[in-house]
């Protein structure tokens, strides 16, 4: 009997040791295959890469094949080892178990449990205490971890659906603004005869207390005068959106590669084709990609980024699926607008964002994602307390005015128009201010106060990108595949002359000094007589013009896509002033400050001026 027990014990020990060894080997093998998984083999891809550089290297091919074969062999061997080892281990464990069991049952007839000796009544009390303690502990731990955990999803929903919170802040801040504005020498002394200014004087309600200002924040909002607008560069193509800048001493000589006359340059973090705008010491541009739509505010003197603000968490905004836009339009094509109190930006997502000059959001809304196969590109303008937005999409066109203070819709006019990418012009035609829009097929004018259509003229076709020009009582509209038309506005508008030799596709025409300039995508700048349409000159450079020509300080500034700025005298004879370059691609139109020119390349934003 004893011998049998001994034998069983020996077998148990032997089988146990065997199992242990097999187990250790198995684990080692497992780790080894894990480390040297042939699928993660680094050598073969390396060799294949070398082969692709030298495609006919037979020796290398042989080497790869040999290596590959070896790796596979090793892998299958270890697979076999693991499988066999698994069976061996199982066998060993079974033998050990049987042996131990036999030994134990042989030793004593019955295998009893190793018993504790303790008082059962005491045990019960202890058990109760422990259970209660454990229960309380678990629940407390749950409560604490619940409190500590952050519910991003709930927060997202709350922020999305509760504009009330942000509105409260807005009211207060715009109230302050309103009060601040009272102190500003806003209207009286400035440019008499300017109707915009005159309107300001009559329409600004005076408010005396903060309480009142807060109560009627929209009504008390003051707005910039035309003179202020002209002193700055608030919109795409200047304060009227027609390509006329009023700044002086504009540089004509620089070089982006050598750095000559480049006062500063910065890389705008996100791409965009919106042109810069300027107010006071601040310069604004937008940038966007699928992850975020952002407004950047730079110090116009130093190029320092003062603040940036994202157009995020806007109700109705497409959070993940960006509208399909083409690469040459992007999500941030429209240029911003400012009235000196707020800046406004719109993106191809249909998000409109209003920020105060410190980057704090005043309001934001989504106009509905525009159905636009390139991407929404029409820029913004501000008229008094209204932000004017042209919203021509594939689903039909409309133009609307939003309150600059609250974003509420003041008026909206549905246009019988097709989609367009042109930006609005806001022109005082002598008796009134008109908002003029170009699209397929019309050039139409609206009263910016009410949105009523003042006049319209069918003269365009195709996909209209260029905005209108204005000079001396006449509007000029043009588009590729259509024509260049000089329109006499009024209740019965008429086309005074038209021309179709040189037509722009993207760049807007410019009218100044009784001349009309047209810049084409095939690299020609043509100059016509504004009254008769007689062509004075044409000049071909070859690089396409996407940026619009802007008139400043006696010259026309026109950047081509290579980054070269063609500075031409605005005169009947072609007179090239200079052709400096920034050395990178340009599709944005320049912005002007006194003595300065600001230009956004595809990569960097440049400030040009004499040092």
């Amino acid at each position: 009997m004893n011998d049998k027990i001994k034998l069983a014990r020996r077998i148990a020990w032997a089988a146990g040791a065997f199992s242990l060894i097999v187990a250790v080997l198995l684990i080692a093998n497992f780790l080894q295959t894990k480390l040297n998984d042939p699928i993660d083999n680094k050598t073969i891809p390396e060799l294949v890469k070398r082969l692709s550089e030298n495609p006919s290297d037979e020796a290398l091919k042989q080497e790869i094949r040999a290596f590959d074969l070896m790796a596979r062999k090793a892998y299958f061997t270890s697979q076999w080892q693991i499988r066999t080892g698994g069976y061996l281990l199982l066998l060993g464990v079974i033998i050990t178990l049987l042996a131990v069991r036999y030994e134990r049952s042989a030793k004593s007839k019955l295998d009893a449990v190793d018993i504790l000796k303790d008082e059962s009544a005491l045990d019960k009390v202890l058990a109760q205490k422990w259970i209660a303690a454990l229960g309380v502990f678990i629940f407390l731990a749950a409560i604490v971890s619940g409190i500590l955990s952050y519910n991003a999803i709930d927060r997202y929903l709350v922020v999305e659906n509760a504009p009330a919170v942000s509105e409260a802040g807005t009211t207060a801040s715009s109230g302050e603004n309103a009060l601040d504005n009272m102190d500003q020498p806003s209207s009286g002394q400035l440019a008499a005869g300017d109707t915009v200014t005159a309107n300001v004087v009559t329409e600004t309600p005076s408010s005396s207390s903060l309480a009142e200002a807060v109560a009627e924040n929209a009504a008390t909002k003051t707005f910039a005068t035309m003179a202020e607008m002209k002193a700055n560069y608030p919109f795409f193509r200047g304060p009227e959106g027609i390509g006329i800048a009023y700044q002086k001493n504009i540089p004509t000589d620089w070089n982006g590669t050598s750095g000559e006359n480049i006062l500063w340059k910065v890389k705008v973090p996100k791409p965009g084709y919106s042109s810069p705008i300027i107010w006071g010491n601040k310069l604004f541009v937008t940038g966007a990609d699928a992850s975020a739509r952002v407004v950047y505010c730079y110090d116009k003197n130093t190029g320092k980024l003062i603040w940036e603000a994202s157009a995020d968490q806007i109700e109705g905004s497409p959070p993940s699926k960006m509208p399909k836009v083409t690469a040459d339009t992007g999500l941030a094509a429209p240029t911003m607008a400012t009235d000196g109190y707020s800046v406004f930006a719109i993106f191809a997502t249909g998000d409109v964002l209003a920020l105060d000059m410190n980057g704090k959001r005043t309001w934001a809304k989504n106009l509905g994602v525009p159905d636009n196969h390139y991407g929404h590109a029409s820029s913004l303008v501000v008229y008094k307390d209204k932000l004017l937005i042209q919203y021509d999409t594939n689903k039909g066109g409309k133009v609307m005015a939003l309150s600059t203070a609250s974003g509420d819709k003041i008026w909206e006019t549905v246009r019988g128009s097709k989609i367009s990418w042109a930006s609005p012009a806001l022109v005082n035609t002598g008796t009134r201010t008109e908002l003029v829009l170009a699209t397929n097929p019309t050039v139409a004018s609206y009263d910016p106060e009410t949105g009523k259509e003042l006049w319209s003229m069918n003269c365009l076709s195709g996909e209209v990108g260029p905005s209108v020009a204005y000079s001396n009582g006449m509007f000029y509209a043009a588009n590729e595949y259509a024509k260049l038309a000089a329109i006499k506005p009024g209740s019965a508008p008429s086309i005074v002359w038209s021309e179709d030799e040189y037509l722009p596709e993207v760049a807007s025409p410019l009218a100044v000094n009784s001349l009309v300039f047209v810049a084409t995508t095939y690299g020609v700048l043509a100059c016509y007589d504004a009254q008769t349409g007689e062509k004075y000159w044409e000049q071909e450079w070859g690089d396409p013009f996407y940026a619009s020509p802007v008139y400043a300080d006696g010259n026309v500034y026109l950047a081509d896509q290579s980054g070269k700025m063609h500075i031409v005298k605005a005169s009947k004879t072609f007179e090239l002033v200079a052709e400096p370059t920034i050395g990178e691609k340009v599709v944005c139109s320049p912005a002007f400050g006194d003595g300065r020119l600001y230009l956004r390349g595809t990569n960097q934003l440049y400030c040009i001026g004499t040092k």
């Binding site: 042939p38 699928i39 073969i44 060799l47 294949v48 082969l51 692709s52 495609p55 091919k61 790869i64 094949r65 590959d68 074969l69 596979r72």
Partner: protein, 206 residues
């Protein structure tokens, strides 16, 4: 007296016991009936919808089986039998041969066999296939999409909850009735056809 209380206690206990028995039996019956209303006499198995699959590679790593029970299958009826096979050759393969440096499959599980000029047959060696879907990606973008992943039921353990389904980014793995255990391309189509199939499956249940 003690006898009496004891008997009373006994009776009470028996009453409680009977009552609890009844309660348990009734609730068990309730669960049974409620589940039975939604039961399905057949068996359900896991399968991949090839039209949802995004070739993320997780089938190779996440299956409880090693190597995975997910294999690439070849719908011969859809194959173009091309010489230049996007599922077999590396995108920038050195030449159109079976040499190791040209094969896309990390385990060389695809066999290429010449049939007649210019046709080649491709066959999956399921012993080697690990279900990584690399060839599926190649075939889908360059070829006819005849290579696709399926769960092979001779290997699948039909786990209660498929370990791959849990991490599948596209929710491509679903339960299908065991009498139609495959969603092989060609027999099975996306979109409109599938809707039809689904409704028929629903009516099978009733």
């Amino acid at each position: 007296m003690s006898d009496k209380t004891e008997r009373k206690g006994m009776e009470r206990r028996r009453f409680i016991k009977r009552g609890m028995q009844a309660t348990l039996a009734v609730s068990l019956g309730g669960v049974a009936v409620a589940s039975f209303m939604k039961s399905y006499a057949g068996e359900m198995v896991w399968q991949i919808d090839p039209f949802k699959c995004v070739q993320c590679g997780r089938c190779a790593d996440e299956c409880v089986m090693m190597p995975s029970a997910v294999k690439c299958v070849h719908a011969y009826a859809l194959c173009g039998y091309c010489d230049l096979c996007g599922g077999y050759l590396k995108p920038n393969a050195n030449e159109r041969s079976t040499a190791a440096e040209n094969q896309l499959c990390p385990t060389a599980a695809i066999k290429r066999k010449f049939i007649e000029d210019p046709y080649f047959e491709y066959e999956i060696d399921e012993e080697l296939c690990i279900g990584c879907a690399k060839c599926v990606a190649g075939c889908t973008s360059f070829g006819n999409g005849s290579l696709h992943l399926q769960i092979r039921h001779d290997r699948c353990k039909n786990c209660n909850e498929c370990a791959i389904a849990r991490v599948c980014p596209a929710d491509a793995i679903t339960r299908v009735p065991a009498n139609q255990p495959y969603l092989i391309k060609g027999d099975f189509t996306a979109a409109g056809d599938k809707a039809k199939k689904d409704t028929s499956r629903m009516s099978d249940n009733n």
